[in-house]
Amino acid sequence: MKLPAIDYAALAPMLILFGVACLGVLVEAFVPRARRQPVQVVLALAGLIAALIVIIRQATEQKEVITIGGAVAVDGPTLFLQGTIVVLGIVSLLLVAERSLERGGTFVAQAAVVVGSEADRRQAAREPGATEVYPLAVFALSGMMLFVSSNDLLTMFVALEVFSLPLYLLCALARRRRLLSQEAALKYFLLGAFASAFFLFGIALLYGYAGRVDFAGIRGAVRAHEGSEVLLFAGLALLVIGLLFKAAAAPFHVWIPDVYQGAPTPITAFMAACTKVAAFGALLRVLYVAFDGAQWDYKPVLGVIAVLTMLIGSILAVTQTDIKRLLAYSSIANAGYLLVGVLAVPTTSGVSSTMFYLVAYGFTVVAAFAVVTLVRDADGEATHLSRWAGLGKRSPLLSAIFTFLLLAFAGIPLTSGFTSKFAIFSAALDAQDDLGIWLVIVGVITSMILAFPYLRVVVMMWLSEPGESTPSVSLPGALTSATLAIGVFVTLLLGLAPQPVLELTDRAADFIR
């Protein structure tokens, strides 16, 4: 059997990251413990930056290629989404690497130590956190990059597992509240395994339908209306369920609040930003490339899911009392808005507005979680909302930043939240069908509902008097400051001058088919 031609240059960004992740594992084995942290951080960041440079070079060359026998497609959306994933990965890795807030960082030293034991107390108080998180995060990132570029279902499945498994592990590594963290990881793992099974079953059915797993083949079969429609619809439904699980759309969202709350906050930020990009990137490719011939069949169903997601996310956000859970439900609602953009199929404005939204949301949400890492008391982060009362008096700058981010989530103009919502809604209306109008109406209504919980936090911080238990706000270290500054800057920039990024997404919106 002859091996297919491989365009190594096109795969370079992913290969770099896989290599760096493997190197990271070797570092764990051979570098003395005390030196691992700086070595790992530098290695991971260097790898990500190298990958980013390669991506940018490919983008300037406007590279479009399908390689490894049709398994990977490198085109405009791939490069844009990979670039987004890498940049957001860098920004959230800065949070992961922060060690000045707490002795030893946010991560547990040894995940296997029994919770509540003497050894556990010792590690929590003194020992530096595990440095395995860096190779794990880089593995996850490389998986995500493969996920958005995979051009057949099997590659996509492999990529899904490559980025999911490290995330399950990372969720379990919180230094404090370890039971919550482990519970989150277990929940995420079990439900994630379920979703993977759905995904795989969907692939099997689709193979039965089209006789092939590559997108071009499936696309041809769908357009030719050959084969059994039952297989097509059942397969597509199961496949999309797997993707929507990662994307946090209702009714596959139930894991989100628990996992977001239990996971170490830097990992939550990582998941909220990067996993969303990966999941929606893959969803776009599947729906636009492989199944665009069946759009009239899946649009109503996905429309219902989008409505449900927006409603559930926004309504349940109102009742939350924990800031991480609140952001989790807001993330669910945002998945609904992203679906509105995805459903502008088959317009290119659907692709470009969804990608724009992913960038805008990613930076805002990373910065928001960065703020959460800073509000602490003796037991770690103080995430209960009532504890945030009067924070504006204690630390006006940080509260002002968080207020700005919340206003961005609420979609107030001059923030990226407004321009991205505008892009999504206009793409939906531009798609010229009634579904778009209804989605926009629901989107507007849920935006109003969502404004309330955000506003409640603002009220809490500024208008309430500080209580006895208002936690102190730690001075952010250089890394967290950098994350905050980048997040806030991009949120403001995309609100004030979105033109360059809009042009970029417009140019990058064509899939290679």
Binding site: F422, F425, V444, A451, V459, L463, S464, A497, P498
Partner: protein, 511 residues
């Protein structure tokens, strides 16, 4: 036509001032106040120059400037002012220094930062100027929403009783209206993009496109709900009494005097010209809401026991008059409505500020805590009476002219509405006079005589606050012509060019 970019400078100048004031040291509040006052006076001076440069008989939109912002979406930063906008800009410029002087001590005593209060006032001024000066629908929407943020913090951080509740209610109500408008803005943009072949938000380009009847009506509703919440019209008004009574007096004067006018201004600038057919279709509905608002709010005002809430309700009634004037579709009523927007800003602004002076002295806004205050503070009580009379449109004072024009202009086309609205004048006399009687007349409330603050009559600072407003109310009451000359062409253009409505020919009955 001058090339000086008046409108962009006017929009940005207060923002720069706010940045300066915000970074002044908290320990020197007096400095922050002085800088804020000087800055607002500079804005007033520039606005005066602009007023003089405006050619009343010239082209409809003047001082037009346009810079590209987001070309992909066809968004430009376009400023232009017609007579209506010019009048509102002047009102803002006049009210702001007055409010700053009136709020001189408002932010003190609390644990909040004094410079922040004055910085927020300047930010508010910037956004209010922007919203009236914008000639690009996207830009207008941006200012329309941004405007909420400084007001929210003014109410929430510096307000009185129930300030949190009022601030959140204010923000949510406005945001809900604003999001309906956002949906309509996007819809309009998409339709315009299809009709014109390229996306645009330019107001003038958007007035040219033909919309299908159904689409036009839906889009009208989107805009109208936002403006009706903002104005506020019955039944979207319930946030105003809360916000008005919780806000500090100066902020309340700006809220009711200027910020709410964005609603009526928006109807005139956006609803009528962009959706002429839908405006005619929904006019009976709008007129009904306006008339119900006049009577209902007046009745509620009569029953209030809280001075600030009472004034807030009188405003809702007045907004009903403005609504009647707009939807009567005659140039006389329309001009009257715009003049009403100006005069109401002056009169109600004055009333709010005077009430604020009473509340600051007494420490309570309840009417029952006053009684016979005129014997202790005769001059202040006199000013209160003057403000009340202006508010009920006493002939000789400015509001009379506008109210009269609205009613005359409406009578020629819709007698029923005009007659019911006239009943509102009677009610206005009732609530104003009764309020004044219960607070300043009669025997002295014994509890009042023990309050130290009440021993101090109008101070120099307060004189500086009320004097300009009183002068303006009297001058415009006797000689409103310069203002009407500015407003009339703009209203005529709105009704006749944009909507294609002609004034009814004079008949025997109205001659």
């Amino acid at each position: 036509m001058t090339s000086f970019p008046y409108l962009s400078v006017l929009t940005l100048a207060p923002l720069v001032g706010a940045a300066i004031v915000a970074f002044l040291p908290r320990r020197r509040p007096a400095l922050a106040k002085q800088v804020a006052l000087i800055w607002s006076l500079a804005v007033l001076a520039l606005t005066t120059v602009m007023w003089v440069a405006f050619e009343a008989g010239g082209s409809r939109f003047q001082f037009r400037e346009s810079y590209p912002w987001i070309p992909v979406w066809g968004v430009n930063v376009t400023f232009a002012a017609d007579g209506i906008a010019l009048v509102m800009l002047a009102l803002i410029a006049v009210l702001l220094p007055v409010v700053i002087i009136a709020s001189w001590h408002d932010a003190e005593g609390g644990r909040r930062s004094v410079p922040a209060y004055f910085a927020l006032l300047l930010v508010l001024e910037s956004t209010m100027i922007g919203v009236f000066a914008a000639a690009d629908v996207f830009l207008f929407y941006v200012f329309f929403e941004i405007m909420l943020v400084p007001m929210y913090f003014l109410i929430g951080s510096f307000g009185g009783h129930q300030r949190q509740y009022a601030a959140v209610k204010f923000f949510l109500y406005s945001l809900v209206g604003g999001l309906f408008m956002l949906a309509a803005v996007i819809g309009l943009w998409v339709l315009a993009g299809r009709a014109l072949g390229e996306p645009t938000f330019d107001w003038q380009a958007l007035t040219q496109i033909d919309l299908s009847t159904g689409a036009e009506r839906w889009l009208f509703l989107g805009f109208f709900i936002a403006f009706a919440v903002k104005a506020p019209f019955f039944p979207f008004h319930t946030w105003l009494p809360d916000a008005g009574s919780a806000a500090p007096a100066g902020a309340a004067a700006l809220l009711v005097g200027v910020l709410d006018k964005v609603g009526t201004f928006g109807i005139l600038r956006y609803c009528l010209p962009l959706f002429p057919e839908a405006s005619r279709y929904f006019a009976p509905l709008a007129l009904t809401l306006a008339v119900v608002g006049i009577i209902y709010a007046a009745l509620l005002a009569v029953g209030q026991n809280d001075l600030k809430r009472l004034v807030a309700y009188t405003s809702i009634a007045h907004f009903g008059f403005i609504g009647v004037g707009i939807f009567a579709f005659t140039t006389q009523a329309g001009t009257g409505a715009v003049l009403y927007m100006l005069n109401h800003g002056l009169a109600t602004g004055l009333l709010f500020l005077v009430v604020g002076m009473f509340v600051a002295r007494r420490g309570s806004a309840l009417i029952s805590d006053f009684g016979g205050a005129g014997t202790m503070v005769p001059v202040l009580a006199g000013v209160f009476l003057f403000a009340g009379l202006a508010s009920l449109a006493l002939p000789g004072l400015a509001p009379f002219v506008s109210e009269f024009m609205v009613l005359i202009g409406t009578l020629t086309v819709n007698k029923t509405v005009a007659v019911i609205a006239t009943a509102g004048i009677v009610l206005a006399a009732a609530y104003v006079l009764w309020m004044i009687q219960r607070t300043t007349q009669g025997t002295l409330n014994p509890a009042l005589s023990t309050v130290d603050g009440m021993r101090r009559d109008l101070t120099w600072r307060e004189t500086a606050v009320v004097a300009p407003l009183i002068v303006l109310l009297i001058v415009l009451g006797f000689y409103p012509k310069p203002v009407i000359d500015v407003i009339n062409p703009a209203v005529t253009a709105t009704l006749q060019q944009d909507m294609g409505v002609q004034d009814p020919a004079p008949t025997e009955a109205s001659r």
